[in-house]
């Protein structure tokens, strides 16, 4: 192996560049080495033995070792060895020479018969403790090559032996001849030695020069480096003190040699990272300690790359820093991966944090909900005993009391009412907030709602105020919305307005507005989700209305109530209606407006004391309006009045066009003037009581005459409803507008009505006229009674003959007894059946105007019964009922409307638990509405008013 190497070396006459020929040459040499120009003196610095002449190209070698301590120490090792070898060779030669000389002397001495023995000593190079270099192995060649021992020189020391007798001629002759021979041999030996010496010298000459060998070693190192670095994504370089490149190796070069050598980083590249790189190198240079750093470059040259850079300082032999070695490795992918991992880890962390946060929020929300529900439950729990107290007080007020007692009781009642109101408000609020409150979608007539609200307000008015309402012509006759809530808002705002107004007027304006901009940002969804919980078929309703004109009035009444819309029905559009509730009251100071809608807030403590109230009303209004997808705003001027405006979206069925109604109603006009009015009239006014209790109404299609005739007075109709008690009123009742007797004091009336029998009559009358307002206060009953029985007393009489037929479906006999009794008090006799199957049979037998249906019953429950009845109404046959096992019973001829008609009978569920779920179930099965059990007078009255007008 070694020998081969040596032979290789021998063959190379001129050592080629240490860098292979194929690399380099032109653009982008992997190794770019500064060509030594002025640095020739470097050569002198390197202590290469002068006597060795060589044809090797030193330049590269020098470059490699240029300046560096490491390089020079490397070189020093090599040189030491070389010198050592030279020395030993020289020594050996010298010894040989000495030997030869000695031998010659010996021979000469022998000639003089002095024979000397001569020996060489074994000598061996024993320098074991050489410094170890990376090229250690290669040094082995030296040892093999250097002849260490002189082995083949043998000097024969022989004594000359002579046979002849001493001192004889023969003896001397013989001796001379013998010596001659010896001399000859000696000369011969000398010649041999000379030859050997020559050979030896030649050998030495032939031996390779140290430079060659060193070059060879270096070349091998170079090859080794090449082999390793061939595909490594590394850049290696050396930069001098000024950070100018002196040497660079780059596997993927993109620059010419001349672009790099002698320049600094900053001169070569531009872009982020370059400066940092440069600074880093400088730092290393200054500190003199190697360091590693990761630097991300963003350059035009090679885009975005991250390099792990290792920089170590290079010292001169004097210990000064003369530059740096620099190694960079492209770790872009790794960094990217690492960053991605970090990002993912971070995302996971964020995700986890979010989750925790969410869980926390959920927890808090749940807690809040629970708290609110607790509040709701508590309020509910408070309400029951409180209503007990109030009821007791009411009962007490019916007994005989003296003046003082009555006053005390009045205070008790009003306080009780206030607390009840407060609790109701809290309940409402917490219902809205906890999301329990569900909106219902029913058809209603905005004009009627406005009118009723104003009527209610006017009736309980204790001030001299004008109360008025305007409804613009373009407001649809019927819209779909949650009428109860809307009414609640209107009532609240109106009573608020009245409370803070001492003179002037309070009024409501209703008009159609453009769809406001805020809906586009998502609140629409809220509305739709609010409504979509309920699904019922309005389609069928409308079909009936079209097909069957003769019953159109009844029809419209039915479809008005409890019908909910189908979201996707094409016949519906949304209309936005604005509503102003304005007053000429004390107004609201500007700084109080922002806190106006906060709960328990009133403008000031003074106001609270002076005007009372819970401070919850406006907060509830706002929440309700927002729940329905609208906005409630206020504008106000102190001492001049306030205007509360709310806009709400309503659905409108196009099929129920207003024209249909006006046609129908003009047909009916002679019969029922009042309900006619409510459909189209657009203006209502309630003058202050001292001018008489006046309702004037004017519709778009009304003549002026009509308007006059509609002014109604006091208790004109009481001639009918109270024949026994208010005879004196009859004469007054027929009077004209200005008749002062029409000014009926409500409180008087209520007092007279306080005896139970009167009350009973009132309820009766009320029920027959069926035009009341859903309000349980006695004042209102009086008022609405007077109101509805307007001008045409005949129609009332005829109407009263055909009493509505009501069917109660209930299995619990106690419930039956109670409900029956209540209905009796409301003026109705009812038919009772005990289960769903019987209910179906009853409906088969005769036509009812209203069915009150218990849901949970044996044999057949209320839901199924309703389904069967609805199926009959739709198909006209009882097939579904037959399938359910109910044989059709013959219609009872006694009843006027015995023939089965396609009229849709309102079915009201009586549910034990009035939760929304079961309400949905009721609606889904075709029920129109529901009354929660236990039934109370008020609930039943509302129900009857709604369905039996």
């Amino acid at each position: 192996m070694e020998k081969e190497c040596v032979e290789d070396i021998m063959e190379i006459e001129v050592l080629p560049s240490m860098w292979p020929e194929d690399i380099g040459a032109d653009v982008g040499k992997q190794f770019n080495i500064e060509k030594p120009g002025n640095d020739q003196d470097v050569l002198e610095e390197v202590s290469i033995i002068d006597e060795v002449t060589t044809i090797a190209d030193f330049k590269r070698l020098i470059e490699l070792t240029n300046f560096t301590e490491k390089g020079s120490s490397q070189l020093a090792y090599l040189m030491k060895h070389w010198e050592y070898k030279q020395a030993s060779v020289a020594r050996l030669l010298r010894e040989e020479l000495d030997n030869l000389n000695k031998q010659r002397q010996d021979v000469e001495l022998r000639k003089l018969e002095i024979l000397e023995e001569h020996r060489f000593e074994d000598e061996r190079y024993g320098g074991d403790k050489r410094p170890v270099s990376i090229l250690d192995d290669i040094y082995d060649i030296w040892q093999q090559d250097v002849p260490c021992r002189k082995s083949n020189v043998v000097v024969q020391n022989k004594r000359v032996e002579i046979d002849a007798e001493y001192d004889t001629v023969v003896y001397w002759k013989q001796r001379a001849m013998h010596l001659e021979k010896l001399l000859e041999a000696s000369i011969q030996r000398e010649e041999t030695l000379e030859q050997k010496l020559k050979e030896s010298i030649k050998n030495i000459e032939r031996q390779s020069s140290p430079v060659e060998e060193l070059s060879q070693i270096l070349k091998r190192a170079d090859n080794f480096l090449h082999f390793i670095l061939q595909n490594a994504p590394v850049v290696i370089g050396h930069q001098d003190k000024e950070l100018r490149y002196r040497f660079i190796y780059n596997h993927f070069p993109s620059l010419h040699e001349e672009d790099i050598i002698g320049k600094t980083d900053v001169e070569i590249f531009t872009g982020s990272g370059v400066k940092e790189n440069q600074d880093f190198k400088r730092e290393v240079l200054e500190k003199g300690l190697p360091a590693k750093r990761e630097i991300t470059f963003e350059t035009e040259l090679f885009g975005s790359k991250t390099f792990l850079i290792y920089v170590e300082p290079v010292f001169s032999k004097a210990g000064e820093t003369i530059g740096i070695n620099y190694m960079g490795m492209d770790v872009t992918d790794q960094v990217r991966k690492r960053e991605r991992m970090a990002k993912i880890r971070e995302e996971i962390a964020v995700q986890k944090a979010k989750e925790t946060e969410l869980n926390k929020t959920i927890h808090i929300t749940e807690e809040t909900m629970r708290a609110k529900q607790v509040l709701a439950t508590m309020s509910h729990e408070i309400r029951s005993p409180l209503s007990g107290v109030v009821s007791m007080a009411e009962i007490l007020s019916t007994t005989k009391l003296d003046k003082e007692q009555r006053q005390l009781l009045d205070v008790m009642l009003s306080s009780g009412d206030l607390v009840l109101q407060l609790i109701n408000d809290i309940l409402d609020l917490s219902k809205v907030e906890s999301g329990v409150m569900k909106l219902e979608a029913t058809k209603f007539r905005p004009r009627e709602v406005v009118k009723h609200v104003l009527q209610t307000a006017a009736a309980s008015l204790q001030k001299i105020l004008t109360i008025e309402g305007h409804v613009a012509d373009d407001v649809p006759i019927e819209v779909i919305g949650d009428v109860l809530r809307i009414r609640q808002i209107l009532t609240n705002l109106t009573s608020n307005a009245i409370k803070f107004t001492n003179e002037g007027k309070v009024g409501i304006n209703l008009y159609v507005v453009q769809e406001p901009s805020f809906t586009k940002s998502g609140s629409v969804q809220k509305i739709s989700s609010g409504y979509s919980t309920i699904s019922v078929n309005v389609v069928k309703e409308e079909r009936y209305g079209v097909n069957d004109e003769c019953i159109s009035l009844v029809k419209s009444e039915c479809s008005m109530n409890g019908d909910t819309e189908d979201q996707h029905h094409s016949n519906e559009t949304t209309v936005w209606i604005g509503c102003d509730v304005y007053d000429t009251g004390i107004g609201i100071p500007e700084n109080a407006i922002h806190s106006l809608f906060k709960r328990y807030m009133q403008v000031s403590v003074d106001h609270a004391r002076k005007y009372g109230g819970t401070g919850l009303g406006l907060a509830i209004c706002k929440q309700l309006v927002e729940l329905m997808g609208g906005r409630l705003t206020v504008s106000s001027k102190e001492q001049n009045g306030s205007t509360f405006t709310f806009i709400l979206p309503y659905k409108v069925s196009i099929a129920c066009d207003s024209s249909d109604y006006s046609d129908e109603f003009s047909d009916m006009e002679h019969n029922d003037a009042t309900s006619d009015d409510t459909t189209t009239e657009g203006f209502f006014q309630f003058q202050p009581p001292n001018l008489g209790h006046i309702v004037s109404s004017g519709g778009a299609n009304r003549t002026h005459n009509k308007l006059l005739s509609h002014k109604f007075c006091g208790f004109s109709e009481s001639s009918f409803s109270f024949p026994s008690t208010s005879n004196d009123n009859i004469s007054k009742g027929t009077c004209s507008v200005d008749d002062s007797s029409s000014l009926v004091d409500d409180s008087d009336m209520s007092e007279s009505a306080s005896s139970s029998s009167h009350k009973h009559h009132l309820y009766n009358a009320h029920a027959w006229f069926q035009n009341g307002i859903a309000d349980s206060s006695q004042h209102m009953v009086v008022n609405s009674t007077t109101q509805c029985a307007s001008s045409n007393s005949k129609s009332e009489v005829t109407k009263s003959i055909s009493k509505p037929k009501i069917l109660l479906v209930e299995d619990n006999k106690i419930n039956i007894m109670v409900t029956q009794s209540m209905m009796k008090q409301l003026g109705h006799n009812i038919d009772v059946v005990n289960n769903g199957a019987e209910a179906v049979r009853a409906v088969q037998r005769c036509t009812y105007d209203l069915v009150l249906m218990d849901v949970c019953m044996p044999i057949m429950d209320g839901l199924q019964a309703t389904k069967l009845i609805r199926s009959f109404e739709e198909t006209g046959n009882w097939d579904a009922a037959k399938n359910a096992g109910i044989e059709q019973s013959l219609p009872n001829r006694d009843y006027e409307y015995s023939a089965p008609s396609k009229k849709r009978v309102p079915i009201v569920a009586m549910t034990a638990n009035a939760l929304s779920e079961s309400a949905e179930e009721c609606f889904a099965n075709g029920m129109d509405s529901f009354v929660s059990k236990p039934a109370s007078l008020r609930k039943l009255k509302e129900c009857i008013e709604q369905y039996l007008r």
Partner: protein, 149 residues
């Protein structure tokens, strides 16, 4: 006379306050007028009869093996409806719990509930009987005053 009135008032208020009765009972009282002067007593008597029947049915049903929870639930439902109708709040509430136990098919809970129900019921009945007795006394006293007057 006043003494009786006060006693009646106190007793009634106490029954409301202690939750035996709720607003629904006042509703019943409102329904009582000249045409049906004994309405409340009539309804209540009916309620007592009905309740006793139902309570018996329930206790019998609970002794059966296996227990028919559905049937008991139906009874409890009936009882709940009746008591709600007459304003027997506490009885009604126990019925509600009872139904929950029925639904959960919890026999032990049902038995406990039935006992509670019986107790509540008898308390209510005794209290109401006393109430009616007072009313009756007032009535007779009033009549006697009338006749005397």
């Amino acid at each position: 006379m006043d003494h009786l009135h006060r006693k009646l008032r106190d007793h009634e208020a106490a029954m409301f306050q202690q939750g035996y009765l709720d607003d629904q009972f006042s509703q019943l009282q409102k329904l009582q007028d000249d045409t049906s002067p004994d309405f409340v007593i009539e309804v209540m008597t009916m309620f007592f009869d009905d309740s006793e029947k139902l309570l018996n049915n329930m206790s019998r049903a609970l002794e059966q093996v296996p227990v028919n929870f559905k049937q008991i639930d139906a009874h409890a439902h009936q009882q709940k409806g009746s008591s709600a109708s007459v304003g027997a709040a506490r009885v009604k509430n126990v019925c509600g719990t009872f139904r929950n136990f029925c639904e959960a098919q919890n026999l032990e809970g049902c038995v406990r509930c039935l006992q509670q129900l019986q107790q509540e019921y008898s308390l209510l009945k005794n209290n109401l009987k006393y109430l009616f007795k007072l009313q009756q006394e007032i009535k007779t006293a009033g009549r006697s005053i009338h006749t005397r007057g």
